[in-house]
């Protein structure tokens, strides 16, 4: 008797829930087809592909299926991209991560509202440009007869081949990374600063804290949780790389390859080396995942801040 009522209730509940499942359906299908369905394809990394047999029936690669992984780490075309990727991303993290925080703190000290808003609006401009047009701006500005060389020429009387010296690749990469993200990245910190209770500042002032001390002891702690979350999300990028920026900057002189450009070049570009590029991509994904989870775990232990 009670069971019957229960099932009736359940049925009733299910019917009530039905519209909500239907509303979720497009998202579920989208994610299934475009995110989950490619996943089994990583098996290519362990196979010697045979077009006639298909991905799953192809024979396993040598060395217990790991031949392509060994290949990726030993053949210079691939292995040489790994260290630059890590190095560029470590530098990028050091330079790019604190920049929006500092920018937000400085913006917060501007007293004229109109001026502050104008600077902010201008600082968002790079965010709205595509990476490819950003690299276009850079190569136009840094070219032999571009704006920067005009200035150098006016002062020192000669022109510099910025885009012809491979040593300039990393500085240009770092500068453009900061340039594009600093204004937009500062919004989240400014939102956090606006949410700090004025009472805290008042109390600190009564305790004799000067402006610098208030910034350090009141503002900074309020921004830390947000900064932590952003840092955790950044960790996954340490082994990834900004494909659009690197690919866009590559020219006859800037030949630096990172993991993502190598995967594109040898996988989809001229190479069609599906197995090896998939192996490299898989290593990258696994390391990125491990770094994200690790950072999340450490952050949870140390500062009680975590993604979930």
């Amino acid at each position: 008797m009670t069971e019957k009522i229960m099932t009736k209730k359940k049925k009733h509940k299910f019917r009530q829930d039905m519209p909500f499942y239907l509303l979720l359906l497009p998202a579920i299908v989208t994610v299934f087809v475009f995110s989950y369905m490619p996943m089994p394809g990583v098996i290519m990394a362990f196979k010697d592909l045979d077009a006639r047999q298909g991905m799953f029936a192809s024979p396993w690669a040598a060395n217990g299926g790991f031949a392509h992984f060994i290949y990726v780490f030993t053949v210079p075309d691939f292995a040489d991209a790994i260290w630059p990727t890590v190095w560029i991303n470590i530098l990028s993290l050091i330079v790019r991560f604190p920049a929006p925080l500092i920018f937000a703190l400085l913006l917060n000290e501007l007293h004229k509202k109109v001026f502050k808003r104008t600077v902010q609006t201008i600082s968002y401009l790079p965010y709205f440009l595509s990476w490819i047009s950003v690299t276009g701006l850079a190569s136009s500005l840094l070219s032999e007869y571009g704006g920067i060389n005009d200035l150098i020429n006016a002062v020192a009387g000669h022109r510099v081949g910025f885009l012809k010296n491979p040593d300039n690749f990393i500085p240009i990469y770092l500068f453009l990374s900061v340039w594009k993200s600093i204004g937009w990245g500062s919004i989240i910190y400014l939102a956090n600063i606006a949410a700090i209770s004025p009472d805290l500042y008042e109390a600190a002032t009564l305790d004799g804290a000067n402006r610098l001390k208030r910034a350090w002891h009141v503002t900074m702690p309020a921004l830390l949780p947000t900064a932590m979350i952003l840092l955790i999300l950044e960790m996954g990028q340490l082994f990834g790389s900004n494909f659009e920026l690197v690919y866009g900057l590559q020219n006859a002189y800037f030949q630096t390859e990172v993991i993502s450009t190598v995967i594109y070049k040898y996988g989809l570009g001229s190479g069609a080396m599906y197995e090896a590029t998939t192996a490299l991509n898989l290593v990258q994904s696994v390391v990125a995942l491990t770094l994200t989870l690790g950072a999340n775990w450490i952050s949870k232990k140390v500062s009680k801040v975590s993604l979930w």
């Binding site: 190569s139 204004g183 994200t292």
Partner: protein
């Protein structure tokens, strides 16, 4: 909040500040002016180049203003059939892609408002996992070509239909709409779809605008989708055209360098003169629409970041 601050500044005028703080304020203002210049100058410089006579540009010395103004570079780019096609594809994918992604993501956000929806946790986890792990470029490419979505306009729209972060932002916004509104509509016999379109959507127009604009900027600026999955020139976007022009002008530059190195300059150099102008004009054509619009819609963009930053 802002008003409170303004008041505070009125009570503590410039005279009361310490010398060190005054110096800081002045330095800070100078730094901000310099930074603003650094944000703006590269774009204005290219704009000036695009509006300058092509042969004159290659002499250098173009700053923030064209020396020999002309619209011919821009007209030339705009008259290419590739540009017309690029505009058409870009506008179509921006409009269709943005609206489609908004609907898919908005529907999902709304569904998660339902308290006690069975399997909620599982579905949420299912949607989260792809944020942290994916099949990678080649498996994705293989799948896309198997389901015949490569070389197909749909590759611009369907794969980016759902966005987890946007869902979180919409959900946070919708959670602030009182439950009682939906409850009373339900009691009146309104279906969920009706409630969604007639009550929730009109009440959440600001966040709808935000998400639409985020999507639009993504769709306008994306060029890697074309690079990876499109071979048919009829489906090239503006940004992809720009990418091709940039690579092409680099190639021309290379040829000229080689020509100069081997002692033959002459006719190739004229090619270079137009190379720079074409590049600038192409950059302007593919970015100007968004640059003209963003100052007026930025408040919607920012609002989304604000909502997104409030973690429950």
């Amino acid at each position: 909040m802002n008003k409170g601050n303004a008041k505070q500044y009125k009570i503590s005028p410039w005279k009361r500040y310490s010398g060190a703080y005054k110096a800081f304020i002045i330095l800070n203002v100078i730094l901000m002016i310099l930074l603003s210049f650094v944000f703006l100058a590269p774009y204005i410089n290219v704009l000036a180049k695009s509006l300058n006579k092509a042969e004159d540009t290659s002499l250098g010395g173009i700053g923030l203003w064209p020396r020999k103004p002309t619209f011919s570079n821009l007209w030339m780019i705009l008259s290419y059939s590739e540009t017309i096609k690029g505009f058409t594809v870009t506008i179509l994918r921006t409009v269709i892609g943005s609206v489609w992604a908004l609907l898919v993501t908005y529907f999902a956000s709304y569904a998660f408002l339902r308290k006690g929806l069975r399997g909620r946790g599982v579905i949420l986890a299912y949607l989260t996992v792809p944020m942290f792990f994916g099949g990678g470029l080649i498996p994705t490419y293989v799948l896309y070509s198997r389901i015949h979505i490569t070389n197909n306009f749909l590759v611009y729209v369907l794969p980016v239909g759902f966005n987890f972060f946007n869902m979180a932002v919409i959900r946070t916004y919708l959670a602030n709409v009182p439950d009682s509104l939906r409850e009373s509509a339900r009691i009146d016999g309104a279906s969920e779809i009706l409630i969604l379109f007639k009550i929730m959507l009109p009440l959440s127009l600001p966040i709808v605008a935000t998400i639409l604009l985020w999507n639009a900027v993504f769709h306008w600026n994306d060029w890697t989708t074309t690079l990876y999955y499109i071979r048919d020139p009829d489906l090239y976007t503006l940004q992809y055209n720009l990418q091709q022009v940039l690579k092409e002008s680099e190639r021309i530059q290379q040829l000229i360098d080689a020509a100069i190195a081997s002692g033959r300059n002459i006719g190739d150099i004229t090619q270079n003169m137009t190379g720079e102008a074409v590049m600038s004009a192409q950059i302007i054509v593919s970015t100007l629409p968004i640059i003209l619009v963003y100052p007026f819609v930025q408040k919607y963009f920012i609002q989304g970041v604000m909502i997104g930053s409030v973690k429950e």
